[in-house]
Structure formats: C-alpha cells, structure tokens
Symmetry: C2
C-alpha cells in the first residue's frame, strides 16, 4: 500500500495536470507546500513504482496506474465531503479539511456504503465531480461568474473548496451549487456584481466572483 504522502502527490499531480497542463517540480512543490527538493525526492520514488513518468527538467505525468490511484483518492475525498455535509451536517466550509485526512484511511467497504447512502452522487457540496467507482469523471461545462453580462440568468455549478472563510462568505448568500440567480448589474471598471437570488438582491465582489463557476447561462428575453 502507498503512504499518505505518496497519495497526496498523485492527487496533486492529477489536479495540476487538469487545469494547467505541464506539471513542473516547482509548481507541484508549491501546491503541496513543500520545498522543490522534497518534491524531486518523491517524484523519484513514484517513478520507481511506475506511477509517474518523469524527464529531468521537463515535468511529471501520471501513468495509467498513477491516474487510477489519484482518481480513487479524489473519489474518496469528494464522497466524504458530501457524506459529512449531508449525513452528519458538518458545515460546508469544514468538510474539505476533514476529508483531507479521512480520504487516505477509509476502506472500499465504507466508500461503497457512503456511495449507496448518497444515491450514487456525481458532485460534491462544492460542485466538483465525483469520479465513479471505475474512475470515470463526468465533467460539466461551466464558466467563471466574472464572464457574465447584465441581465443573464444562470445556476451555480461549482465553487473553489480550499478557502474556508470564502466558503462561509459564499454560503451566507446561499450560493450553493444548483442555486439559480440573475445578474442585475455589473459595476464598471471591474467592479462588483449585483445579483438577484430568489428575490433577494446581493452584491458579490469581483474577487469572490472569480471563485464561482456557473452554467445554464441564458440571455434576458427582452433584448
């Protein structure tokens, strides 16, 4: 079995590969809050285990085996987040941290029981997709809220999960995934967004909006 640290490296490589593309030692080290020299060491070890490919000075890639493990850990993480949120009522700004520890430790049995309890869900409380038990990820297309125009309606698809204070803030406006809203006003010069959620008007700063992703975007009827 792999160590927790090794699992964290594989998970991080997968995530960085998803958005960025090339995963350098430095980027990986920064993401894991570790020095580059430490990342080099773990990369070497993972390479001997045939979980990653690596060419000096050229970055890391997951092998099929490495990707499978990364997806397994991500699945654990997201299932746990949703389970803690729905079954135990842990507030959504706390589930990430908790799942970060539990994801390395739960058995396949517990994974399966949570999955069943939750009705085989496809997204965690922040809207991130949950890989199925075969490692298949169903991605949904979404755009950053900052791309919205005045008058458009949409639904929250996903929010960043790593900043607890930000999540509390977003949660206070009820901007959970699935929530629909309409853009009432976009202040000029990269100013805040005023939106309408179920009749309530709230103002969302640009920095916050960058961490919110939406889908089901529709233009206003009267244009």
């Amino acid at each position: 079995m792999l160590t927790h640290a090794a699992e964290d490296y594989l998970k991080s490589i997968y995530k960085l590969q998803e958005k960025g593309g090339k995963v350098s030692t430095g980027i990986l080290a920064e993401y894991l809050d570790v020095k580059p020299a430490s990342a080099t060491g773990m990369i070497k070890k993972l390479k001997t285990m045939k979980l990653v490919r690596h060419e000096r000075y050229r970055g890391v890639t997951l092998t099929a085996a490495g990707k499978a493990i990364a997806l397994e850990i991500i699945r654990h993480h997201r299932l746990l987040e949703l389970y803690l949120f729905k079954a135990l009522g842990v507030p959504w700004d706390g589930v990430h941290e908790e799942a970060e520890k539990l994801e390395h430790v739960i058995s396949e049995e517990v994974e399966a029981r949570m999955d069943e309890f939750l009705g085989y869900p496809t997204a965690d409380p922040h809207g991130a997709p949950i890989p199925d038990k075969n490692g298949v990820v169903t991605q949904t297309a979404s755009i950053p809220m900052t791309d919205l125009q005045k008058g458009q309606t949409c639904a929250v698809a996903e929010v960043s999960d790593n900043d607890s204070a930000l999540l509390r803030h977003i949660g206070s406006f009820n901007l959970y995934p699935g929530t629909a809203f309409r853009v009432v006003e976009v202040a000029p010069f990269d100013g805040p967004f005023t939106i309408d959620i179920a009749g309530q008007q709230v103002v969302i700063g640009r920095e916050v909006a960058k961490h919110i992703f939406v889908d089901q975007v529709q233009d206003p009827d009267n244009v």
Copy 2:
C-alpha cells in the same frame, strides 16, 4: 499534536491497566505487536511529554493527562464502531479494524455529530462502554458466560471485539449485546453450552463462551 503511534501506546497502556494491573514493557510490546526495545523508546518519549510515569524494570502508568488522551481515543474508536454499524451498515466484525484507523483522524466536530446522531450512546456494538465527552466511563458489571449454570437466564453484555471470525460466528447465533437467552444444558467435563435464544436452541463451544460476557443473570423459578 500527538502521533498516531503515541496515541496507540496510550490507548494500549490504558486497556492493559484496566484488566491486568501492572503494565510491563514486554506486555505492552506484545500487545502492540512490537519488539520490547521499540516500546522502551516510545515510553521514554511519552515520559518526557508527562503522559506516563515510568520506573526502569517496574512498568508504566498513565498520568492524568495521558489517561485523558487514552479515553479520548477509546471514545473515538467506540463511537466510530457504533456509527459505522448503525448509520452505514458495516457488519459488526468489520467495524473494529475500520475504527482503528479512523480514531486518530476524526475531528471533535465529527465526534460530536456522530454522538448526537446516535443519541449519546453508552456502549459500542460489542457492548464495550463509550466514555462520555468528559472521559467518564460507565462500567456495567458482567460475568463470563462460562460461569453460568444450567437453567439460568441472562442477557449478553459484551463480547471481545478483536477476532473478526469469532464475531461472525457469534453473530450467526444472534448473540448481540442485549440479547437474552437461557442455559438449557451444560455438558460435563468443560463441554459446550446449549442455550435457548428466542425459542431456538444453539450449541456454544467453551472457547467461544469465554469471549462472551453476560449480565441480568437470574436463577430458574423452579428450583
């Protein structure tokens, strides 16, 4: 924060202290499946942390601080066992192993939510007492099943939790804590027990009976 290993040592010292009395380095090492030299090393470290008292060649004792941590871990373990059993339907012969890993990792928040969900329980699925959040243990008096006489009635109070196969065996007779039964026959020369559970007669070998503890013992009416 303590390491998982240190927590396991404290927990083990507590448990050995409970039944045996004096906890020697050797006993502790054997219990933890570790060499005596390793136990010596950890004992030294725990001593510098003022979690145990130790005199060379004379055994270990928990300090108040050490006992508090031990009880906290045991509370986690037993709450987790019951939660996994009741909320997720993990079979009772699997919950021990799972809880063994999770006990070091859950937050106070999750502990509290499980406690609430379960209605502030006082015993785990094997009948072992769950310390309350202040570390208070409510012990119930029970006797080994092997002390029972023909004709007596009683209820299962507790069963050993560390042998998975044994638990499956006991479970197949429905001998869960709380289950009442009557002793129909005790075979001579330390032979097996024949008991009546809800009208069904089953035979329990002596070796198995040693791991079952009962309370509410009553003598037959017609004697």
